[in-house]
Symmetry: C3
Subunit: 363 residues, 3 copies
């Protein structure tokens, strides 16, 4: 998993100049540095290099005012554009809290032991928007559990919520008693109680864990996380340079990627020539067709299972409960918008919001 957040937001010469003039980059980089440990000097250099090269070859040019009148009809557009620009420049906006953080197990007698506490917290989805969340280990999504096929694992769930709960390991082919469905495979885990899920990891791939009790509410409020299983036998797609989890949600917290809404989403960053694997996971109630600008994706796995023949796309429809693994060969430098293509999930007349992030390919 990459946690580099160096990025170059603007690439055309004109905007680059204005952006630097206004001090926008410094502000953003400061924000990034606080939230994400950005390496600001390389980011500036990469962006400058790119601006030079793209402008010199087949660059766009802003032409003269060739058709319409001017000042009056531009008053409102300027106000709208300023709102849009403000949101763009805020990206990636620092917020309190980060979800999907790798959870390091303790290991005893060869068993990987994970502690998960479910409780009510306050969660900042974007600057100024703090909501009630029901979270695992104070994160939305919950901490990322990453193990290997065949590992012996114990996940201890502690319930500090005001409701009963349970964990279903979505995608894992566990013994029935570990499946997490109250009144079918176990009793609900009452407030104040704990439950130990104890199993040998049966199958590889991109999976999830989430509540399976009053789940329309509990998952919507944040009781979900990624459960990644590395395969015993690696395929050609299992050693990407950058390995990202992108959990989509659309419940009580609005349209989010990994628990955050644009501009507080986290860009994916890679260097030119690297490969990025994106593990899409939908924990929401709606489809989200994810569109990557500038570079196609090669779909390599569905629900953790390798597809028989990888296929290419730029818009990948991810339905609730599905996981799709896609590989991106970063052959095209720049900052590429990456968003749900149900446009009302990504943009309003106040600017981009919700399900928007970027893939930054640095030269």
């Amino acid at each position: 998993m990459s946690d580099r957040s160096v990025f170059d937001l603007f690439s055309s010469t004109t905007n680059r100049r204005r952006f630097i003039r206004d001090g926008g980059l410094a502000a953003v980089v400061a924000g990034v540095a606080g939230a994400c440990k950005a390496e600001s000097p390389p980011a500036q250099k990469a962006a400058a290099d790119q601006a030079k090269s793209t402008a010199g070859q087949t660059g766009g040019t802003m032409g003269p005012n060739d058709t319409a009148s001017g000042a009056s009809i531009r008053a409102n557009p300027d106000a709208m554009d300023a709102m849009h620009e403000k949101r763009m420049k805020a990206f990636p906006a620092p917020t309190t809290g980060a979800g999907n953080q790798l959870l390091t197990p303790t290991v005893e007698q060869g068993i990987k032991h994970f502690e998960i506490t479910a409780k009510k917290i306050q969660w900042e989805t974007e600057p100024g928007n703090t909501v009630e969340a029901w979270a695992y280990n104070d994160q939305v999504p919950g901490p990322q559990i990453r193990v290997r096929e065949g590992d012996r694992v114990r996940v201890v769930l502690h319930n500090q919520l005001p409701e009963s709960t349970s964990i279903h390991f979505h995608g894992l082919e566990l013994p029935n008693a570990m499946d997490g469905v109250p009144f079918v495979t176990q009793p609900p885990v009452k407030p104040g109680e704990s439950f130990t899920y104890d199993f040998t990891v049966p199958n590889a791939g991109s999976h999830m864990y989430h509540s399976h009790h009053n789940a329309a509410k509990q998952v919507g409020l944040g009781l979900l996380g990624a459960f990644i299983v590395e395969p015993k036998a690696k395929t050609q797609y299992d050693s990407p340079d950058v390995d990202e989890v992108l959990i989509l949600n659309d419940g009580a917290h609005g349209y989010t990627f990994n628990g955050k809404s644009f501009p507080a989403t986290k860009p994916i960053v890679a260097k030119l020539g690297q490969t990025v694997r994106i593990r899409f996971m939908n924990e929401g109630m709606m489809i989200h067709p994810m569109h990557l600008h500038g570079i196609h994706m090669t779909v390599v796995a569905k629900d953790g299972w390798p597809v028989p023949a990888p296929w290419r796309c730029d818009t990948l429809n991810v339905a609730p409960g599905e996981r799709w693994d896609a590989v991106v060969h970063c052959t095209n430098p720049g900052t590429w918008a990456f968003h749900c293509h149900i446009l009302p999930h990504a943009e309003s007349d106040h600017g981009m919001f919700g399900m928007v992030t970027a893939l930054v390919v640095q030269k």
Copy 2:
């Protein structure tokens, strides 16, 4: 098609004991026996066997009250859990009427002759919820028509509805005049009239028949059914041990599988080692990503056509009008939740409802 409904609802030792103590199983089995001819003794034995084996290996354990206080904060959760438990224990709940019943044709001079009468009925979707339905042969879905590729077939539609209607054989590549589109291929069939669809079955696979007149209303009210065509040349997937049709709907009757809402849905039952083919058909207005717990599905056909390379998943997104055939190799014993993963289609704070059933793999 299997109509065995023997199942083992609980598999953890703790719950198994409580369940037996409360007499829950007896009640359910009695219900099943009425509705579905359950074989109760094997069910009890299988469930007991399974409970023993899963608990002995990597079983979950209910830990002590380790974090929160107790009685007071549990008052509401207990009430909620009781509602959830009650619905779970009611499964599979007996209701009046069963849809998708195999319709035996009369055969004259080599022609398979089916009689279909469309009329308004009362339909019980779950205990206590009786709705108006527009039904073929008093069933929702209508009776299952099952023929072979190349068969000569006559389907006589009798319209006893207060509106005109027609039948479109969705997926069959019929001569145009048999396509069932009023004012394009035939006149509407007026109330009190009949119309004979007469054709040679042109292509194999999982198809549907439904109204194509005022269809947003008429299909939503129940004028739909499965039209299964067995191929002349069988593939390796065409001889499963259990062959199920699962018609999804989300119209006037709520979220239903084969016309019934949980807990009145019917479990799919197989023995360990058997293969189950599930023919998903969506007659609704929304996608339904169907999630099977515990065992993956291998997708083998789309709209009746074999896929070039079968692919695996645990969550299969089924869009309106689509049919998908998936094969499940029942390698993992237990009662596996099987539901739409748009969670508000499957669970509320009152418990599981709507698009929920189970795959029961018996040892």
Copy 3:
């Protein structure tokens, strides 16, 4: 691209007769002739031939009034049917304006030069329904841009809208500065300004161009079009007899195909034995599972990329932002309904509307 609109709306003998008697065909053909240059005599002949042959073989027959009473219960159905019939007979209804018209570039020094002007217009989606549209070159969808892989292209956008805008070439792997995202790759193009997109076409396939500024509104109002790139190396699917673009939308203009709602949609017309390629593109906010009656589709490309193994279906789920290429081998003569299978997008109790058209296979 075919712009033949010869079609035969009715194929059963009974209706054929009534249709001719009522003068319906003449009316429709006159409408078609105005809007689409129909060749009426072959259409009449083909329809008559087909009616004869299908009726003679396995034709449907309207049976006697065998069950219900009659006149009284048929008063309302007759009124409803008359509304349905009227809409069917109106197809294809002439309207003012046609979208997706091929845009011929000027060529200078080997560069293909396209001029695109965005402005507010009035747009007739179906007879009597005129709405405000934001359009490229006075069309919804905008003019079709069709180039070859490797072409050097200039697209000059002139903004005569009351808001800023931009063009994103959805699916093209352009240099970042040409990607069309305001404040990321370029400044917004203000009202009265122009912007030149200048690039070498990097990848083949079915792509789109649309606004990427306040896009939930601007694309919904019509700022979108097809960008088709013919490949340098043709595959077996790249030389169909008929090549159609079908852009789906569900925004401010209702449910539309290429900017028009049924009965103003345009039928796709081919001769028996021909192949038709349909390039589905979804510019809306909802999925649209497209169902073709009578003949299956073979899916050959996703987002412009050939699929590794073509697969067959009759219902193709198209999500927002996706493009799918499907080939239809026109082996079954007749007028085949072709519609979104979310039925409320295609039919109401007033008859077919919105996302409905037909594939007409002429003998």
